[in-house]
């Protein structure tokens, strides 16, 4: 299998076929909390893409150069990754506030939210210990593969979030029966969105 083909499959798998929100159901809290409006969804998406790329790189490095060689990765990786991601996001927030006020205005308020976003942890864990993309390719991600994978996950998160925000703008104005208004309807809608994503299962053998 060619290198480009491998990258393509990893990207597509992360983006569509194993979409982090709608197929694996990770990070639902931010998904339901943020999708009320399009503007917040876009801001959150940008912030997630940025944080995910950096935190995956960090955790990939930590796993391959520290945790795995020392043989302590198996039981320590979750606390280590959580600690690294949380402290990195805090640091980054301070850094962005000082150096790039415009950027901070666009996505700064979402950064504290991302500290505890499980999608970020899931992507960071996956690039260190692969297991979700059940492909016959890459059992250990190289760094470029980890980037491609993480970018796919982050874009998949953004796509699902923005699509959901657009749908919710419509559903919120519909005469939904009383007991179903609000979150119940959001869950029903996202279940049906998940159904639409399920259609891609098996594409390219993924």
């Amino acid at each position: 299998m060619g290198e480009v083909q491998r990258y393509f499959l990893i990207f597509l798998g992360a983006l569509l076929i194993y979409n982090i929100l709608l197929i694996r159901f990770i990070a639902l809290c931010s998904y339901f909390g943020i999708s009320n409006s399009m503007d917040t969804s876009i801001g959150m998406s940008l912030a997630v893409i940025f944080v995910m790329m950096v935190s995956s790189t960090l955790s990939w490095g930590l796993w391959n150069y520290v945790l795995a060689p020392l043989g302590i990765g198996e039981f320590l990786y979750i606390p280590v990754f959580i600690f690294v991601i949380a402290s990195f996001v805090q640091l980054e927030e301070m850094f962005i506030r000082k150096t790039a006020p415009t950027l901070y205005k666009a996505m700064g308020i979402y950064l504290p939210l991302i500290t505890t976003n499980c999608a970020v942890l899931a992507a960071a864990t996956e690039v260190a210990k692969p297991g979700f993309l059940k492909m016959s390719i890459a059992y250990n991600y190289t760094l470029p593969e980890a980037w491609v994978y993480t970018f796919g996950v982050a874009l998949g998160y953004s796509a699902a979030l923005i699509l959901f925000a657009a749908i919710r703008e419509r559903v919120d104005f519909a005469p939904v029966p009383g007991p179903l208004r609000g979150y119940p309807m959001a869950f029903v809608t996202s279940a049906l969105m998940s159904l639409a994503f399920t259609g891609f299962a098996g594409l390219f053998g993924l």
Binding site: M38, I162, L163, A166, I167, E169, R170, V171, A174, P175, V176, P177, L180, M185, V188, T189, L192, M193, L195, A196, F197, T198, G199, F200, A201, G202, L203, F204, G205
Partner: protein, 371 residues
């Protein structure tokens, strides 16, 4: 408002179109009629049974939901609902399995007729706009003819309740109800939904693979041999896939009556043709086979779940066609129309948002949010 002879004072709108939801739905039913009748001939009693159960259950679901929503005849509605579930099960348990669908049909029709026909004190009779009948018929047309009777029964409940009414009824659903039901049925009972193709016309009624399945596995070497059967009397496939020609006749009628516009069917099928040439497969075969025509003409053009603007419709159609071919050629399943349309239904609100026409004279927003 002094009534001065011929002078009528009213608020706008002053020009009223005779077109109503009911009249449009009747035209859609009429458009589906040729293919449906031909399917009844080809598949005999089993095809008729699936269509009848699906349509009647869809109407039944609509009536019961509206009754319960409006607090109208709650007691008798619950009674009808429970008995329509319990009686067929009881009949089956009594060893009269073949009578179960008949019992269900009889019960549900009786309830529908009584709700529509009998006027009760202080209640409005149920009036049908035909949308449930269209959904029920479309659901039957995307099912294989030999499914067990409870598949269209359950499917119609999913289509009307989960696909449509839960969102607030007609006009508010995000996804095409019939396709939601089909997708859930395929996920839940794949064995029933991927077999059961047959024909009763002729000497023997045997279960066969669909042409798309044969093309997928490579068992059919010469696809041109399938052109004529796919156009006229498809040897294997869902009820509504009997004849691409009859579906196109119905579609042409809808186009002529301006019930649908050209954008979605043309771009859908056009994109499929282009994509199949690019992927190196037979374009004519793929346009005729499976649910392509049914999907492009009758499913994707659903007003509620497709974009409003002309530009949006073109984007929608092209994406549907491309995804359909992508799934047909590169995924494990032989068919991709259902998934493609459902996926694009999901994207429709975003397409609508981004293809919203700019009012005349308004300067483009500087942030580049609107393209």
């Amino acid at each position: 408002m002094a009534g001065g002879g011929n002078l009528v004072v009213t608020v706008s709108p002053h020009i009223k179109s005779p077109e109503t939801t009911g009249s449009i739905m009747r035209l859609v039913l009429l458009g589906l009629l040729p293919a449906t009748l031909w399917a009844c001939v080809l598949f005999g009693i089993s095809g008729i049974a699936v269509i009848a159960i699906s349509v009647i259950t869809a109407l039944f679901c609509e009536v019961t939901w509206h009754n319960l929503r409006d607090g109208k005849g709650t007691g008798r509605t619950w009674f009808a609902l429970v008995s329509s579930l319990v009686v067929p099960i009881g009949v089956s348990a009594a060893g009269l399995g073949r009578a179960a669908p008949a019992a269900a049909i009889a019960l549900m029709s009786a309830f529908i007729l009584s709700e529509a026909g009998i006027s009760r004190q202080g209640e409005r009779r149920h009036s049908f706009d035909g949308s449930a009948a269209v959904t029920g018929l479309l659901l039957a047309l995307v099912l294989p003819p030999l499914v067990p009777w409870w598949i269209p029964f359950v499917g119609a409940f999913i289509a009307i309740w989960l696909g449509k009414e839960i969102f607030g009824g007609l006009g508010y659903n995000v996804f095409n109800p019939a396709l939601v039901a089909r997708a859930i049925l395929v996920l839940s009972w794949p064995a029933h939904l991927t077999a059961g193709w047959f024909r009763s016309l002729g000497i023997d009624a045997t279960s066969k693979a669909t042409p798309l399945m044969l093309a997928k596995t490579g068992a059919a070497a010469d696809l041109t041999a399938y052109y004529a059967p796919l156009l006229l009397n498809n040897p294997g496939g869902c009820i509504g896939e009997v004849s691409a020609f009859l579906l196109l006749v119905g579609g042409a009628m809808l186009l002529w009556k301006r019930v649908i516009t050209w954008e979605i069917p043309v771009t859908y099928l056009g994109a499929m043709a282009v994509a199949s040439v690019l992927m190196g497969v037979d374009p004519v075969f793929h346009l005729l086979a499976g649910g392509a025509v049914l999907g492009a003409v009758f499913m994707a053009t659903d007003y509620v779940t497709s974009p409003v603007s002309s530009r949006g419709k073109i984007v929608f159609g092209i994406m549907c066609g491309a995804i359909t071919m992508l799934l047909r050629v590169y995924s494990k399943a032989p068919e991709g129309v259902t998934s493609a349309i459902l996926f694009m239904n999901m994207v429709t609100p975003l397409i609508d948002r981004s293809t919203m026409p700019r009012p005349f004279g308004v300067v483009r927003a500087g942030r580049g949010v609107r393209k």
